[in-house]
C-alpha cells in the first residue's frame, strides 16, 4: 500500500500548529506596528464585538496581522512538509 505523504498525514498538525506559531509572531508584529503608527480617534479602538476584527481599527489591525501571519506559517509548514516528504518517502 502506498504510504500517504507527510503533508496528508500531518494536515491538521500543519493547520493548528502553523496558525498557532504564526499568530504568535503576528501578534508581536501587529502590536509593534500599531504602537509605532499611533492611535486614531476614540471610535477606532476596536474593542466591541466585530469591531475587533475590522482591520481599520486599532485592535482589529493587530488581529488581522495575527491571522495573516498564521496563514503564512501554515504555508511555510506545508512547503517544509512537502520537501521533507520528497526527501524521506522516495518511491
Amino acid at each position: 500500500m502506498q504510504k500517504k505523504s507527510i503533508s496528508t498525514r500531518g494536515f491538521w498538525l500543519m493547520i493548528v500548529g502553523g496558525m498557532l506559531t504564526g499568530m504568535g509572531n503576528g501578534s508581536v508584529f501587529g502590536a509593534t506596528l500599531m504602537c509605532f503608527l499611533g492611535r486614531g480617534k476614540f471610535g477606532d479602538w476596536g474593542g466591541w464585538m466585530g469591531e475587533a476584527y475590522n482591520p481599520v481599527t486599532f485592535t482589529g489591525f493587530i488581529d488581522w496581522c495575527m491571522l495573516v501571519f498564521g496563514f503564512a506559517y501554515v504555508v511555510i509548514l506545508a512547503i517544509a512538509f512537502k520537501r521533507h516528504d520528497a526527501l524521506e518517502n522516495v518511491a
Binding site: I6, R9, G10, L13, V16, G17, M19, L20, T21, G22, M23, G24, N25, S27, V28, A31, T32, M34, C35, F36, R39, F42, W45, G46, G47, W48, M49, A52, F58, T59, I62, D63, M66, F81, H84, D85, L87, E88, N89
Partner: protein, 468 residues
C-alpha cells in the same frame, strides 16, 4: 512506595523514583488544570460559586499557579532527571532511596503550601506567594535533595564527557536553589518597596528562565535524538544555548517593572538583555529541528516526537513575544493585560508542558517496560491539549489586545469587561479541554502500568507502537 523508605538503596528497583515522580506529576497536572478550568469558569460566569471565601478567585488563582509550577512542571522535571541523568551517564541513579524520599517530602510540602495559600496565608508576591516557611521547606527538602541526586549521578557517570542535557540538569538544579533563597529574601528580612518589587520579579523571571525553560529544553535534547535515532545536530550550538541562557536570562528581571521608578539604566539594560534571549531561543529551536532531518515521518507518526516538535514550534512565538513585549514601546501597551496571561501559558502550558509530556510518556514506558495501553487515547490527549491550549491562547491574546487598546484609549473599564466576555468563555472552553485530555492521560498511563504489553529487552516503546 512506603516500604522503600526504610529499605536499603540496592534493594530498591532501578527507576522507582522516576515512576513515582511521573505518576505524581500527572496527578498534579490533572489537579492543576482542573483548578485552572474552575477559575476560568468564574471569569466566564461571574455568578459561578460565590459566597465561599476560600473558593474565591484570588485564593484559587494562587493555588492553581503553584500546583501547576511545583506539582506538574517541576515534578515532571524531577521524573525526567531521575531516568535521563543516569541513562546519559551510563550508570544508575546515585540514590533511589533519596529519590523516593524526595517524592514523599515534595508532595507533603506542596500539599501544605497549597493548603495555607487556600486559607489565605500568602506573601502576596506573584509566583513566590508561598509564605517564608514553605519557601525554606521547598529549598531544603525539595530542591537540594534533587540537586544532590543529579550532581552525584553525574559525578559517578561512566562516560568521559557530559552530554548537553546533563549540563542543563546540573546547572538548573543549582540555579533554582539560589533563585529560591535569594528571590525570597524580602520575606526572610522584611524588605519592602522597590527592593521587594525587584526581588519578586527577579524570582519570578528566573524560576522561568533558569529552571523551567532550560530544563524543558534539556529534555528535548534527550528525547529527539533518543527516539529518532539521529545524533544531536550540534553540541556546540547546545553549549551556545546553555551559556547564553546563563548570561542573558539571569539579568533582565527589571523588564517586568518597566513602569516602576527603578533606575532608567537598569530598565534599559534589562530590556536589551530581554531581546538577547532570542540567542538561546534560536539556538535551541534550530538545533532540535535540524536534528529531525530525515525523520519528519516520525512527527506525524510518533507521539513523543509530535509532542516535542510541537513544543519547539511554540518556542518560536514564545520567544518572539518574550523578546519584544518587554521593550518600552510595546510593554506600555500590553502590560497588565490578558496578553501576559496568554504569554505565560504559552511558556508553561505550551512550550514546556509539551516537552515534558513527551518525556513522561517515554520515561514511564521505558522504565516500566510496558507498551502504551492505548495509542488512541494518547492521540486524543495530544489533540485535546493542542486544541484546548490554542483556543485558550488565541482568546486570551485577543482579549489582551482589547484590554490594551481600552487602556490607551481610556475606555471605561466596565465596557472593556463587557467586550472581553466572549473571550473569557472561549478561555474556559479551552482550559476544560486541556483538563479533560489530562484525565484521559492519567487513565492511559495507569492502565499502561497495570496491563500494558511487555516490551522485549532491547526494544524501544515507540518501535512497538503500531504492533498488536
Amino acid at each position: 512506595m512506603l516500604k522503600y523508605l526504610m529499605a536499603k538503596n540496592e534493594d530498591i528497583p532501578s527507576g522507582s523514583a522516576a515512576v513515582y515522580f511521573g505518576f505524581s506529576a500527572i496527578t498534579w497536572f490533572v489537579i492543576g488544570t482542573g483548578l485552572g478550568a474552575f477559575n476560568a469558569a468564574k471569569l466566564a460566569f461571574p455568578d459561578f460559586v460565590t459566597g465561599l471565601e476560600f473558593l474565591s478567585f484570588g485564593h484559587m488563582r494562587q493555588v492553581h499557579v503553584h500546583a501547576v509550577i511545583f506539582g506538574w512542571i517541576s515534578q515532571a522535571f524531577a521524573m525526567a532527571m531521575m531516568y535521563i541523568t543516569p541513562a546519559l551517564g551510563n550508570t544508575k541513579l546515585w540514590s533511589e532511596k533519596l529519590g523516593i524520599w524526595n517524592v514523599i517530602l515534595w508532595n507533603i510540602g506542596l500539599s501544605l503550601g497549597l493548603t495555607v495559600l487556600w486559607f489565605g496565608m500568602t506573601s502576596g508576591r506573584e509566583y513566590s506567594d508561598f509564605p517564608w516557611f514553605i519557601d525554606l521547606y521547598i529549598a531544603t527538602f525539595i530542591f537540594i535533595p534533587l540537586g544532590i541526586n543529579v550532581w552525584m549521578t553525574i559525578i559517578n557517570r561512566r562516560t568521559q564527557g557530559i552530554y548537553t542535557t546533563n549540563w542543563f540538569f546540573a546547572a538548573a538544579t543549582f540555579m533554582v536553589i539560589i533563585v529560591f533563597i535569594v528571590g525570597n529574601l524580602p520575606e526572610f528580612f522584611h524588605l519592602t518597596g522597590l527592593t521587594e518589587a525587584y526581588l519578586t520579579w527577579w524570582f519570578a523571571h528566573n524560576v522561568l528562565g533558569l529552571w523551567i525553560t532550560p530544563v524543558a529544553a534539556a529534555i528535548a535534547y534527550y528525547t529527539i535524538p533518543k527516539v529518532t535515532g539521529n545524533p544531536l545536530y550540534s553540541h556546540r550550538i547546545g553549549h551556545l544555548h546553555f551559556w547564553s541562557v546563563v548570561v542573558f536570562y539571569s539579568t533582565p528581571a527589571a523588564h517586568h517593572l518597566m513602569s516602576a521608578p527603578l533606575p532608567e539604566w537598569l530598565k534599559s539594560f534589562a530590556s536589551v538583555e530581554g531581546v538577547l534571549i532570542l540567542v538561546p531561543a534560536i539556538a535551541f529551536v534550530s538545533n532540535i529541528l535540524l536534528t529531525m532531518q530525515g525523520k519528519w515521518n516520525m512527527f506525524v507518526e510518533n507521539l513523543e516526537v509530535r509532542f516535542t516538535v510541537t513544543g519547539c514550534l511554540m518556542a518560536i512565538p514564545l520567544n518572539m513575544q518574550g523578546g519584544f513585549q518587554q521593550t518600552r514601546a510595546i510593554n506600555w501597551y500590553i502590560h497588565g493585560t490578558g496578553w501576559i496571561v496568554a504569554h505565560a501559558h504559552l511558556a508553561l502550558l505550551g512550550f514546556s508542558t509539551f516537552l515534558e509530556v513527551a518525556a513522561v510518556y517515554l520515561g514511564l514506558q521505558t522504565i516500566l517496560k510496558r507498551k502504551l495501553y492505548s495509542l488512541t487515547l494518547g492521540n486524543i490527549h495530544f489533540w485535546l491539549l493542542l486544541i484546548g491550549f490554542t483556543t485558550y491562547w488565541v482568546s486570551m491574546t485577543i482579549a489582551g489586545l482589547i484590554q490594551g487598546a481600552g487602556k490607551i484609549y481610556e475606555v471605561p473599564y466596565i465596557d472593556v469587561v463587557i467586550a472581553e466576555h466572549p473571550y473569557m468563555i472561549a478561555r474556559w472552553i479551552g482550559g476544560s479541554l486541556v483538563f479533560t485530555g489530562n484525565c484521559f492521560w492519567l487513565y492511559n498511563m495507569w492502565m499502561t502500568a497495570r496491563t500494558g504489553t511487555v516490551i522485549p529487552e532491547g526494544r524501544m516503546p515507540h518501535e512497538l507502537a503500531y504492533e498488536r
